[in-house]
Every structure is written in structure tokens, then in C-alpha cells.
């Protein structure tokens, strides 16, 4: 069953979603939450990664032994130690949104596609392990790159260009200059 929307309807509603977010709260961004999830896990092993302190005026401050997590007065640490925050609940709600969309009218994911997309199977074969290694490697590059860039498709490309941020255009240029040839070389059909 294919009941996804046509391009114009899709464009209007996707644009409305980005507009709703900035109207009510702030521009949509996703990739930061991978850092928050990591910090949430690893600070259990090494508590120095996420510390809550009280300053001389009795206010809470946040810090980390890691230079990246310590940036911006430890705002990543603050989010980690207050995990039920807007950004983190937002990404959890995205799972639920995808689930509901597939149940309410679809399109449903075909059974033989649940682990391996058609385009991968046609070009690179039906090995489960190969696709999982590919997906893992893909995720690695995507999030490493997004953190270096300071945002991803949502934050830089969509929200960024919506605000006419120079960074949005620069990010998109970097992404497509590489992603287009990679996709053309890897997927011949």
C-alpha cells in the first residue's frame, strides 16, 4: 500500500511542521540528542563527565571533564542530568509519530523491507550482516559529521535555510557535493 502524499501537499505540511516548531518553541534540531543520549549512558560509568555544582549564590551550574560537553556553560550536561527535557522528549515522540503514520493510512513497510531496503538488496545483495554494517557505518559518518558541522538535516538544512542562515546553505553544499556521487557509485540501479 502506498499512501504517501504528493510533493506539493508534502511540501506544505512538512514546511508547516518546521514553522509550528519555531512559532511555539524553537527551530527543530535532532542530532544534539545523540550526544545527550551518549552522555546519559557514559556519565553512569564516569560521573566526572556530567557534574551538577552549586555556585556561591546557591544557583545550579553544570560542568564536564570533557571539553565538548563543557561547552556553553555545560548546557549538554544540564540536558543530560534533566533528561525529561524538550529536546529529548521531542526525539522520542518522533518514534511514536513514525509508528502512528505507518498504522494510520500508511504507507506500511513491506515485510521483506523491514531489515533491508529494496535499493540496497538490488545493488548490494541480501546479506543481513552487510546491511547492518552499512547502516552502522552510515550512522557513524552522519553523526560525526553532524557534530562537526553543529547540526544535521533538520537543524542546519531545513530550519537553517528557513531562517536564511548562511550555515544552512554551506551545510547543504557540503552534504550534496559528497552524498550525490556516493549514492550514484554505490547504487547503480
Amino acid at each position: 500500500m502506498n499512501s504517501s502524499w504528493g510533493w506539493l501537499k508534502s511540501g506544505i505540511i512538512l514546511g508547516a511542521a518546521f514553522l509550528l516548531a519555531v512559532a511555539l518553541v524553537k527551530p527543530i534540531g535532532v542530532s544534539t540528542q545523540y550526544v545527550i543520549a551518549d552522555c546519559f549512558i557514559f556519565c553512569k560509568i564516569n560521573p566526572k563527565l556530567a557534574q551538577e555544582n552549586i555556585d556561591t549564590d546557591g544557583n545550579k551550574t553544570y560542568s564536564s571533564s570533557n571539553a565538548y560537553l563543557n561547552k556553553n556553560n555545560g548546557k549538554y550536561v544540564k540536558s543530560t542530568l534533566n533528561i525529561a527535557n524538550y529536546g529529548f522528549i521531542f526525539v522520542l515522540a518522533m518514534f511514536a509519530g513514525g509508528f502512528l503514520a505507518s498504522k494510520l493510512g500508511g504507507p506500511k513497510v513491506e515485510k521483506e523491507e523491514t531489515w533491508i531496503p529494496h535499493v540496497w538488496r538490488e545493488n548490494l545483495g541480501s546479506s543481513w550482516l552487510k546491511r547492518m554494517i552499512g547502516a552502522f557505518a552510515s550512522g557513524f559518518f552522519i553523526l560525526f559529521g553532524a557534530r562537526l558541522a553543529g547540526g544535521c538535516t533538520s537543524g542546519h538544512m531545513m530550519s537553517g535555510m528557513m531562517q536564511t542562515s548562511l550555515s544552512g546553505y554551506l551545510f547543504a553544499a557540503g552534504v550534496f557535493a559528497v552524498a550525490v556521487p556516493v549514492a550514484i557509485i554505490v547504487f547503480k540501479k
Partner: protein
Amino acid sequence: MKEILFAILIGGSFGFVLHKVGATNPNKIVGFLRLTDLHLAKVILFAIGFSSLLLFILMAVGLIPAAHISVKSSYIGVIIGGAIFGIGFGLGGYCPGTTLAALGSGRKDSIFMILGGLVGAWVFVLVYGWLTTSMPWLYDKIAGGKVSLAQTANENFPALIDGISGVLVAAVVAILFMGGAALLPSKLRG
């Protein structure tokens, strides 16, 4: 509490919409990047133009608070990070956000994409200190950093095109995006 309700409402809608527009489908993403199925390119171009036009109008009349705007910094690492992102994007067909909604919709390879993402983000966290000392040029600002083309209502972010109404500049850019979406054929190759 209001914040959490907004997170559920907006995050839920965003995940729902990503699935409905086809962005959770790696076949569609790969088709877009191979230029053989430009459905998503048209969707994205239109969405950016449409949301941008309304944002600048609503901001100018005061319906969207200027404080909600958040222009990210421009620096060399934005382009290089984008290029590294592009390797994974072209190979896997997911983004950090679409893979979450895709998992919800039943695409289980997203589990490995997300795990890879968690590892990639953590490796970046660990090497960040070294990157800033050994390759400080990665963080060299471009055109002043937090700048936009059109003047927003937020004074913290200077505009590159100054002296012309921000709404007008944004409208021209928005029309180029929406017009591009309409004129783009359904495929360029294959």
C-alpha cells in the same frame, strides 16, 4: 510541563509527517541522491521556501517571537562536517531524524544506524578537544559566523543583505525555492 506537551505534540507531528512525505524511506532518499526520483527534492525545496516565507511574514507582524529564531554559526567545519555527513547519507539513506521515525514505522535497520550514530557522536565528543588544538582552522568563522541572508527580527543575528527589508529578501529566496520545486522534473537521470 507545557514544554513537555509541546515536545510530544511537535516531535510526534514531525515524525508522522516525515513518514507520510516519504522521508523515512531509504529507497526514496537514495533515489533523490541518485537523481532518479526527485520527489523528496521537490518536497524539501517547497517546504523550505514555504516555511521561510511565512516565518518572515509572521515575525515581521510580531506573531512569531524574534527570540525563537536561532541562526547557527558558519565556520569551515560546517562544510567539512556536511561532506562527512554526505558519505553516510549516500550510503545508508537515513538522516539522524528520519531514522527515528523510520524505526517507529517498522524499519529495523534503523537500530544499527542509530547505534552507529551514537558511536559517531561519542567519538566526536572524545576527539573534539584534540581537533580544536590540532586543527583550529576548522572553527574559523565564515562571514562573521551567526549570519543570515535576510534580516530577521532578532538583533543578535546580523544580515548579509542589509538595508533591504528582511521580508522582501526572504520572499525572493522563498519564491526561488518554491519555483525550483515546481520546475524540477521528477527525475534527472535513469
